[in-house]
Each structure stands twice: as structure tokens, then as C-alpha cells.
């Protein structure tokens, strides 16, 4: 599978005017985002996520290393016609919503009836069909964010780069964006999603990468990362809680966790005691737990001088 976005040993250092103070935002950062996947890009504030995105979009040059966007080196102008980008805290020119989306579409070489139709279509997809004639300067932050999404989608991009797309949205709009992302993936598009909303990422992303202090500290399939640590959660009824260590009982339902290797024995014990098994699930961690764990690990490794 070809890479939609690729960073190769990229470092980015910010320097003060006279170069006395330096800050390394990215440190030998390498990542490959495959075509057709939704990739979740996570990290605490100041981890370097936005810097990585800005490098990919050609807004700045790396201090060292290189990267490719849809097969072209970072900064290549015409390749951006195939990319949709939503910056964090989007700022827009004060114009009517439809006019604005058409302006951005025209900058991407679209024109005429096709552009007009597409602008209407994307504004409808972000549920702004009743506000197309209103000036965006009168919009709430959530509505601006939706116009931002519309301008990112107007050129029907192969790759969508979204920096905090749902940060200002209400729960209903978030669901809408989630559906939109899943539809885009179903249509073969690639999505690079930077977000602090871990529950959103958990729901839509195929793979996630966690960036911390400019370094990629965890990378993997979402399902694998969330997978159990070798334990199974069992709920049963018709048995007494005292028979299973570490169990909790509520309304006659007993739930407890056992090592996966002990799963069969636990089930036989329930049946042997005349109980019924209600559910049996591999114990999953939330992305939030993983996020906290890896950032804490990276912090302690950093304080011990390992990073």
C-alpha cells in the first residue's frame, strides 16, 4: 500500500531572533500514513502535532529530514489541490458562507457550476444549508469550524488533514463529523486526524500515533492498543459473588475479571454452581488510559535521560 503522508527523520527547531534560545518541536520524527486509513495523531499540548502538520502542508521547512505528501515532497504546490486542510482555530475572511467556500474552491482550480454545486453540497454536509447566505463573521465558533470543514472538503480531497476538527462542536455536530469521516474512508480517502478528544479518535481511527516532546512514543492499530492485557471480563448471574475473588455484585449480576488462561476454569465454575454466563469480553483499556500511560512513561524515561 502506498503512503499518503510520510515523515522521514524530520526535526524542526524554532529559534529566537538572534538564535540564542532554541526549542526542538520535532525530533527525528518518522511516520507513515497509509492510503485509505484514518490515522489518529495524539499528544499533549506542545508535543509537536501542529508543527508536524504545518511541515506537511509546506507552511514551514524542516530543520532536517524530509517528507512526502501524496508522493510529492513537502511544500510542493500543486499536490495541495488533492488535500483538504482544516487548521486549528480556523480564521476566515468575513464573507457569506457559500461565497467563502467557493473562494477556497476556486483557489484550488475549481470553477463554474461544478464549484457552485459542490459548495452547496459540502455546506449541506456540515449542516449549514440554512446559513449559506449569512456572513461568517456573525457565526459562532462551532459554525466557523463547520465552514472550515466545508472549505477543506470542497475539492473532494484524497487526503484530509484535520487539526482538532471537533474541538468547538456540540455533541450532535461531532456525530455528524464522525459520520463524515467514516464516509470519506469508505470512499477511499485518507484522513490524518489530530485531536485531543480521545473518545472520538477511539471510535473512528484505524491506527493511532502518540507524539510526546517531538518524538513518536507509541504507534499501532487502535484495536491492538486497546486490546486486553491478557484478561477477560465475565458477568454471570445465579452465583454468589464470594465464589470469585475480586468480583462485584449488583442486582444479582456478578462481574469479575480473570486471566485469559483461567477463562475456561471460571466458566466451568459458574456452570458448576448452577449459574448462567451473561457476557464474556476481553478486557479493554480506553485510549485515555493508554495516552496517560505512554506520556507518563515518556516523561519518566526523559527524566532518567533515556530520551
Amino acid at each position: 500500500m502506498s503512503a499518503a503522508l510520510e515523515f522521514e527523520q524530520v526535526s524542526k527547531e524554532y529559534r529566537s531572533f538572534l538564535g540564542r534560545r532554541r526549542f526542538r518541536a520535532l525530533d527525528n520524527f518518522s511516520l507513515r500514513v497509509e492510503t485509505g486509513e484514518i490515522f489518529g495523531f495524539l499528544g499533549p499540548n506542545g508535543a509537536g502535532k501542529t508543527t508536524a502538520i504545518h511541515l506537511a502542508m509546506g507552511f514551514m521547512r524542516p530543520t532536517s529530514g524530509s517528507g512526502r505528501l501524496l508522493g510529492e515532497r513537502f511544500g510542493h504546490d500543486s499536490v495541495r489541490r488533492r488535500v483538504g486542510f482544516l487548521p486549528e482555530n480556523i480564521a476566515l475572511y468575513p464573507r457569506r458562507a457559500e461565497q467563502l467556500v467557493r473562494f477556497y474552491g476556486a483557489l484550488n482550480g475549481m470553477k463554474g457550476a461544478v464549484l457552485k454545486k459542490r459548495a452547496r453540497e459540502v455546506l449541506e454536509r456540515v449542516r449549514l444549508q440554512d446559513d449559506v447566505g449569512r456572513n461568517v463573521s456573525k457565526f459562532s465558533r462551532g459554525m466557523l469550524q463547520r465552514v472550515g470543514l466545508a472549505q477543506a472538503l470542497v475539492n473532494d480531497p484524497e487526503l484530509l488533514v484535520l487539526d482538532e476538527p471537533t474541538s468547538a462542536l456540540d455533541p450532535l455536530a461531532r456525530v455528524g463529523v464522525r459520520e463524515l469521516l467514516l464516509q470519506a474512508r469508505a470512499a477511499g480517502r485518507t484522513i490524518f486526524l489530530s485531536s485531543h478528544l480521545l473518545s472520538e479518535v477511539e471510535l473512528v481511527c484505524d491506527r493511532v500515533g502518540v507524539l510526546h516532546r517531538g518524538r513518536l512514543v507509541r504507534l499501532g492499530k487502535t484495536a491492538d492498543l486497546l486490546e486486553t492485557r491478557g484478561r477477560t471480563e465475565i458477568t454471570a448471574r445465579g452465583v454468589a459473588a464470594e465464589n470469585f475473588s475480586g468480583s462485584a455484585a449488583h442486582d444479582g449480576i456478578v462481574s469479575f475479571s480473570v486471566a485469559t488462561s483461567q477463562q475456561r476454569a471460571a466458566l466451568e465454575k459458574i456452570w458448576g454452581l448452577g449459574g448462567d454466563v451473561i457476557s464474556l469480553n476481553p478486557e479493554r483499556r480506553s485510549l485515555e488510559e493508554i495516552f496517560l500511560e505512554v506520556t507518563a512513561e515518556a516523561d519518566s524515561a526523559s527524566s532518567e535521560g533515556l530520551l
Partner: protein, 237 residues
């Protein structure tokens, strides 16, 4: 070319209030034309016309100094340059936008000047020649300002632009070498406007106009080159 024009028109739209304020000066001239006897007070009318005319050069410098800065500070530049356009095209749009904004003013002034000064006996074709001088001066001054603003904040860029435009003129004046004024012919073009009178028909030279457009082109290419190395996402605050 279409994205360049879109950026240019967008720039003019964003600057509509300063342009409208500038156009108030043209209204003042129109008012004087109505309220005075053009034939008897023709020198006063010409004086006001010349004063009002050269303001636009200063405005072109302000436009040039603040264009990139405003887009970067507001972060609107990110959504523009995330599209399939190059930085050279973006800068071209700004240069054309600045020239267009100043041309709107010059056009309005040209019409008002033709009417008021024409009544007083000033040749109408000379009014339009002076407007062309102004447009050339604005294009060059705006591009110089834009060039400095790619790596300096607007205040320093304005100062550097004033120095770049004024030094050759100052040297030509103090050293007595008139050709030095053509190194950066903004002053030479402004002087063509300021020195015009009812009596003289001399001083009509196309050299500074041609030079000005050539230098605009060269400096635009240079500013595009510099701008391609600028980290535009870095805060300008």
C-alpha cells in the same frame, strides 16, 4: 492566473475601508471644483490635486507593509496557502491587489481632475499621464514594502521602504546627480506629479514609468524568493 486574481480582488475587498477613506479626498477635490471658480482659482485647485494625488503613494506603502502581516496574524494565510497555490502566486495576488486598490483611487482622481482642472485649462491627457505615473509609483512602492515585510514587521518594513525610496532621491539631490533618482524612481514619479503646472508642458518622460514597472517585476520575484523560505505558521505577535 485565476487564483492570483482572486487573491488580488480579495485584498481589495479587505482594504475597502482605507480605500473609501482615500476616496473622501477625491470628494474634497470635487467639492472644491463645484464651490470655486475654476478659472480664477486654478492654482489652488492644482495644488490640492497634487497633494491629494501623492497621498496614494503613502497608502500603497501601508498596504504593502501590512498585507502579509495581517494574513499571518489572523492565521487566514493558512487556509489560503493550504490550497494548490504557490507563495509566488500569493505574492503576485498581493502586488496586483495593491496596484488595483491604488488604481481605483487614481481612476477616481483622474475623472475628478479631468473635470475640475480641465475647466481651468489643464490638459486632460496630462492628468491621465500623471495618474499613470502615480500607478507606477504605487506598484513599485507597494512591492518594495511587500519585499521588506516578508522578513520585517510592518513598522520596520515601512521605515526600510521609506529609506530605500528616499535615499537615491536624497543622494541625487545632494550630489547633484539627477540620474540617481531613477535607481528607485518612486520619487522621480512623484516629482513629475508635484512639479506639474499650467505653464509647463515639459517633463513628460516615460523612462521612470518603464523603469518602475521593470523594478516592480524584479522586486516581486525577489520577494517571492525570500518569502518561500519564511515559516508562515510561526506567530508574528
Amino acid at each position: 492566473m485565476r487564483p492570483v486574481l482572486l487573491i488580488a480582488i480579495n485584498f481589495v475587498r479587505e482594504q475597502r475601508w482605507p480605500i473609501l477613506v482615500l476616496l473622501l479626498w477625491v470628494l474634497l477635490l470635487a467639492f472644491l471644483g463645484l464651490a470655486t471658480d475654476a478659472a480664477r482659482q486654478r492654482e489652488d485647485l492644482l495644488f490640492v490635486f497634487k497633494q491629494v494625488a501623492v497621498y496614494v503613494v503613502a497608502f500603497s506603502v501601508f498596504f504593502g507593509c501590512s498585507a502579509i502581516y495581517n494574513d499571518r496574524r489572523s492565521r487566514r494565510i493558512l487556509s489560503v496557502l493550504s490550497k494548490g497555490i504557490g507563495r509566488q502566486q500569493y505574492l503576485s495576488g498581493l502586488v496586483i491587489g495593491i496596484t488595483l486598490a491604488c488604481s481605483i483611487y487614481c481612476f477616481a482622481l483622474g475623472i475628478t481632475g479631468s473635470w475640475t482642472l480641465g475647466q481651468a485649462g489643464f490638459p486632460v491627457q496630462r492628468v491621465w499621464f500623471l495618474m499613470l505615473c502615480l500607478i507606477a509609483a504605487c506598484a513599485l512602492a507597494g512591492t518594495v514594502a511587500l519585499l521588506f515585510s516578508t522578513f520585517l514587521n510592518p513598522f520596520f518594513a515601512a521605515g526600510a521602504t521609506a529609506a530605500a525610496m528616499g535615499l537615491p532621491a536624497l543622494l541625487s539631490y545632494t550630489a547633484g546627480l539627477p540620474h540617481l533618482a531613477y535607481v528607485m524612481p518612486v520619487y522621480a514619479l512623484a516629482a513629475t506629479v508635484l512639479d506639474s503646472s499650467f505653464n509647463s508642458s515639459s517633463g513628460v518622460s516615460w523612462v521612470p514609468i518603464v523603469l518602475s514597472f521593470v523594478e516592480t517585476l524584479v522586486l516581486w520575484l525577489l520577494s517571492a524568493r525570500i518569502f518561500s523560505y519564511v515559516d508562515i505558521a510561526v506567530s508574528v505577535e
